[in-house]
Symmetry: C2
Subunit: 424 residues, 2 copies
């Protein structure tokens, strides 16, 4: 096992125990990247000198915190003071922020090393980026946190930051066979993360284990996680969602496999029916995302910059500008109502199980896949964690996600550790 | 009447009707500032050449939107691409962002002119700034949106942007005799506004009339306001809040005067009792504000920068870092519960009336006053609008605020126009 294959927790422990140096770990990461980057293209910016200098500095210190010496990949819509931040857009070519985003500074505070900036789609939206799926480069890694998912899955880094407005953490994590964790909206400090749809945007993590997602929770809270007690037989709601018709056979199989394994592991499973009007949440999500994204990018949409958007993005922004305040307010009202109704449902379940995506990662790089199963947790602000379950027809991973109650991120992470064991 | 005394709506109309030029309006603003700035000190940055150039450009165009040619003051925690943004902190001395914040770009999109950056307290928090109350320079204008409130009250600009985490819009507006409007959390696009406590921070406006607050709503939504129908006798809840003991005689008098005038104007008034546990919301607000602000400023709190904070701010940040995730999560749970319980109360009222502040602006610049009456709306995400009512013992204005239901910003603005007439 090379150091880059360690989990973040294992690597930090080895460094703290002086069985591994930060330099060795970073060198292993860089060696893996050197080998794979020409094909996978997960990185927007990498500065070998800088990160090795950081690693040497970490090696001379007593561990700062639980991530000491461990490399992290940062989606390129998150500000870094020592690296460019380009938002996947020519508008920001060469842009160098003055400060680190909160999550970046919190990683450094815990001793972590920002390895580089990972590829994002244009403004974390749908126009696909160049990154390939490391498990099969003919397929998309998903998006918009494309580079983070690919780099983590490919053992280039143990942790990548992603952000989710529709499905940009859970979907790419699923396509790459990783653990995607999107906490409750507002759980993580978001200063310095590019806000597009401020009522939806959520910072999340992509890791190779639930334990590393929990470790990042502690890093981002700068404090200890106290996991709530779990019932002996947690009740999981099997949630086919109003969008089940879009699930491919592979997603249906993964759902069934997961159900079977969880039943065998002693979980209490029950079908849960969402209110039928939840089908309309897809459209309400679109209205909020497009309306807010247009207004939040009023600077980028000014006449002198608008043409630097891709045609697809121009159309999305134009749709956003055309939406009226009345349409937006109606969507926000539906969002609030949905939050309340889902909250009532969640009082009966430890988590709801849903597909992470319609199937395995689609072939080609023309699309990053469909966030149809991800909008619900984004819109309703509830936490979601995606776990790999089985393989699809092309041999690529297919997962399920577990959605928790709003605010109950730690309960979900504690539960997910047990789910992960049961699904393994 | 000089042009700088016009409301934003009046000025925009006069410019559109070619009865006034943007240059004349800007020159009137600058003349007023030249006369008053040495004493009032509302401005952190002013570039006369730049704004006159902007005004000349506006005068050559067909009106872009409803704010064409009208100057706006921008609190200096909001990014501007053509002016420094210093957050009231030496850490950001000379800092020049690459982009405009969303609200700044939306003003420009509507034809408005960013006149300059207004003084903020350090990171929009409690350490006071140098700005004086234009109505009596021996008194504070309130904070943290000190410069915006002073500049608007003093007829230097018709509109100032403020931000509120505890009471930073409503309080300074009240101390300066202005209309402070803090919408529902998340109503206005916040990209490019410095996030401190991301679960509380709300962009707001300070104006001299409710109508200008409504105009800014339209500018920031980039679309028309459709006011909902109002009952003939709107029911106002007289809300003494759990903090009534901190109301000075002047605040009690203003509250009583307002009640009398509103009763005479045909409003239906009723005392409303908040749940007694709402008293604890003050402490929950403190926990969320200090916890989140520490983590959102992890970059500023890094060892190489921490000493650039004022001693008061250092202590606040240290308190924030010491708070545990468990304490924070408990406060967030109380916030959610409070939102739900207030929501139920609000179904019976058009608005709740509360003091805007404990009394008139305190003498001296040692403190910007107490946000004790403002934390409730900030924490519970409900909209609030503050209106002047009477005068205190030093002859300074004393106001009341009206708190609406979450999301019902337009209903509150519509109601406030009628309240403003009745209180005049």
């Amino acid at each position: 096992m090379t150091p880059n294959q360690l989990s973040a927790r294992q690597a930090a422990r080895a460094i703290a125990d002086r069985k591994l140096t930060a330099v060795e770990l970073i060198e292993a990461s860089l060696a893996r990247i050197d080998k794979r980057e020409p094909e996978i293209q997960a990185w927007e910016h990498l500065d070998r000198e800088l990160v090795l200098k950081e690693a040497r500095a970490r090696d001379k210190e007593t561990p700062r915190g639980p991530l000491h010496g461990v490399p992290v990949g940062v989606k390129d819509i998150i500000d870094t003071a020592d690296m460019p931040t380009q938002h996947g857009s020519p508008i920001y070519k060469g842009h160098r922020p003055a400060t680190d985003a909160a999550c970046v500074a919190l990683v450094r505070r815990a001793g972590g090393i920002i390895l580089g900036k990972t590829v994002t789609t244009e403004f974390a939206s749908s126009p696909p980026a160049r990154t390939r799926n490391p498990l099969n480069p003919a397929h998309t890694p998903g998006g918009s946190s494309s580079g983070s998912a690919a780099a983590v899955a490919d053992f280039q880094v143990p942790i990548g930051f992603g952000t989710q407005t529709a499905g940009s953490v859970i979907r790419p994590a699923a396509f790459c066979g990783c653990v995607g964790f999107k906490p409750t909206y507002g759980s993580y400090a978001v200063s310095g993360m590019k806000l597009l749809a401020h009522s939806l945007d959520t910072l999340g993590t992509i890791t190779r284990s639930v334990d590393d997602a929990l470790l990042m929770w502690e890093v981002l809270q700068a404090g200890p996680a106290v996991l709530p007690e779990m019932p002996a037989r947690p009740r999981i709601g099997l949630c086919y969602t109003p969008f089940w018709g879009q699930a491919e056979q592979a997603a249906a199989d993964a759902f069934q496999t997961a159900g079977r394994k969880l039943a065998a592991a002693g979980f209490d499973l029950d079908i849960v029916e969402l209110p039928s009007w939840f089908e309309t949440l897809k459209e309400h999500h679109r209205v909020i995302a497009e309306y807010e994204s247009a207004r939040n990018t009023a600077f980028e949409c000014a006449p002198e910059r608008f043409s630097l958007h891709s045609p697809t993005m121009q159309q999305a922004r134009e749709r956003g500008w055309r939406l009226t305040p009345a349409q937006y307010l109606a969507a926000r009202e539906a969002q609030a109502r949905g939050q309340q109704e889902l909250g009532e449902i969640m009082t009966s379940f430890a988590a709801l199980m849903m597909p992470s995506a319609p199937g395995e990662a689609p072939k080609g790089l023309q699309s990053t896949g469909d966030p149809v199963f991800n909008r619900l947790s984004s819109l309703l602000h509830v936490p979601a964690i995606g776990l790999p379950v089985s393989a699809g027809p092309a041999g690529l991973p297919v997962g399920v996600q577990f959605v928790g109650a709003r605010g109950a991120d730690l309960a979900l992470l504690g539960l997910a550790a047990r789910l992960e064991d049961s699904l393994a």
